[in-house]
Structures are given as structure tokens and as C-alpha cells.
Amino acid sequence: MADLAPGMRVRTRTTDPDGHTRLPRYVRGAVGVLVEEAGRHPLADDRARGRAGAPQPVWHVRFAAADLFGSGAHTVTVELWADYLIPIEEHP
């Protein structure tokens, strides 16, 4: 997997776990752009289940409202753990 870097386009995972997650439903499966790393933390899903997890990067990921809701000219920037993100291969 490519290292994540600002400006990279990513798609969020579509998994719907049984327990706690901090991947909000409204951004699942959506394409956004990495803005800035927001520190490193163990995955919230693991911590909620009492599992020790290694810290991983958390990113500010910016989405166009039209891509999330089908309308709107604004953007929504969501903070997401690297495990929630799949880099999109760019085909030059």
C-alpha cells in the first residue's frame, strides 16, 4: 500500500462493523483528498473492544458535499484513521 501523503485521493472503506467505529456512515465508500496528518492513535474500533492497537496515522480527509449527498457546494473535512482509507491508484 502506498504511503499516505497530503493531496492523495482515497476511498473510505464500506465495512459496517458490529461494534464501535469512528468511520461515520455518511462518508463510507466516498472519495476524498488527504489534507493533513492529525497525529497518531490506536484505532478507536480496537480500543472500544479492549484490544491494544499500535498507533497509526489519523488524517483530515476533505470530501466534496456533492460526492457525499448528491448536492451542496461546500466541503466536509472528516478525521479518519489510516485503516479506514484505501489509496486510489492514479492512472497517468
Partner: protein, 195 residues
């Protein structure tokens, strides 16, 4: 916990707290004490001082946007009041871009800088609607933004906390930093009002 909207949750929390106390894992009243410590000193006056400094000192403003945790220490503030230091992300409003903060998953909020969050910030209506229709929600708050102003919504969905530096009002060139801080409101620091 007595004013929690869900009495079922309240009862469960009280029961768990009583069990932890009866088994010696918690001192009597320890949770209240910890909450008091966490809230101590938290007030929107702190955020207002930071915003006013950013208005009068462009170097500070630049440091604040690049590394908020470091910059607020210059004014004696810290995000280290909880179990671990929380990362602070500060964004600044301009004529071109308006920022507004929400936590769609719960109610994450920079208590040290803004005090306890207002009720509407925790409401499902605000949390679900501001990401979809921020312009409409801001209009309901009485903030009508020009069409050309882009809106950026920030969802505090993970570990960072957020604060907005509102635009400095026109005609305030003669005011002192302290007077400027007096103009800054809690809603201004969340992004649901102009100053």
C-alpha cells in the same frame, strides 16, 4: 448525570459507578472530582483571548494555524488537562472561506478553551444537518453568508479538537486586544456566528 436526556443510560451509569465504588476501584465521588478538574478554568473567554491575539499579531496567527498546541502555550493555555494532551486544530475565517465545527458521532469539543459545549452543539438536529446543509443551518443561526463565501465543515470525528478564529469586525482598528477579546463569542469560535 441527572440531566442526561436518556434516563435508561443515566441509571446504568449510576449503577456501574456504584459497583466500581463498592469494589474499591473508584473512591467515593472520584468521578465528580475528575470532571471538576477537567472543567476547571474552561471558558469561552480563553478562546476569545486566542482569537484576539491572532487578530493583532499576524506571526501568532500563522503559528496558531500551523501548530495550535504550541501557539496557545504562548498565552498560558494548554490542551493537556485531560488524560492525555489533545491535538488542537485551529482554522481561520476569511472573506473567501467560512469554517464551522461539528462532531457528528458524539459531541467532541475543546472544553479547556470554550468551556462546556452548548446544548444545540450536542443535538441530533445540529449534528446531522450542518454537514448536509451548512448554509441553511447558519441562516437559522442568523448568519447569512455571501454566495461567494465557500463553506468548510469540520467533523471532529477522531482525536483532535477544533476552534475557529472568526473574522475581525470592520471598524475595530482602535480597540485594544482586551477589548477585541470582549467581542468574540462562543458561537463565533464554533463558526455558527460572525463577530
Amino acid at each position: 448525570m441527572s440531566d442526561h436526556p436518556s434516563s435508561v443510560i443515566s441509571a446504568r451509569v449510576r449503577h456501574v459507578e456504584a459497583l466500581l465504588e463498592s469494589r474499591g476501584l473508584l473512591e467515593d465521588g472520584e468521578i465528580d472530582g475528575r470532571i471538576d478538574e477537567f472543567l476547571a478554568g474552561g471558558s469561552p473567554a480563553n478562546g476569545a483571548r486566542i482569537a484576539a491575539r491572532a487578530w493583532v499579531d499576524p506571526g501568532f496567527a500563522e503559528r496558531l494555524l500551523a501548530d495550535a498546541n504550541g501557539a496557545i502555550r504562548e498565552l498560558g493555555f494548554s490542551m493537556a488537562g485531560g488524560l492525555q494532551e489533545q491535538r488542537l486544530k485551529v482554522v481561520a475565517n476569511t472573506a473567501e472561506e467560512h469554517n464551522v465545527v461539528v462532531c457528528t458521532l458524539c459531541s467532541c469539543y475543546p472544553i479547556a478553551l470554550l468551556g462546556p459545549s452548548p446544548g444545540w452543539y450536542k443535538s441530533e438536529a445540529y449534528r446531522s444537518r450542518v454537514v448536509r446543509d451548512p448554509r441553511g443551518v447558519l441562516r437559522e443561526f442568523g448568519l447569512e453568508l455571501p454566495e461567494r463565501t465557500r463553506i468548510s465543515v469540520w467533523d471532529a470525528s477522531a482525536e483532535s479538537r477544533y476552534m475557529v478564529v472568526p473574522r475581525r469586525p470592520e471598524g475595530t482598528e482602535g480597540l485594544s486586544e482586551e477589548q477585541l477579546a470582549g467581542l468574540v463569542t462562543r458561537k463565533g469560535l464554533i463558526g455558527t456566528a460572525a463577530v
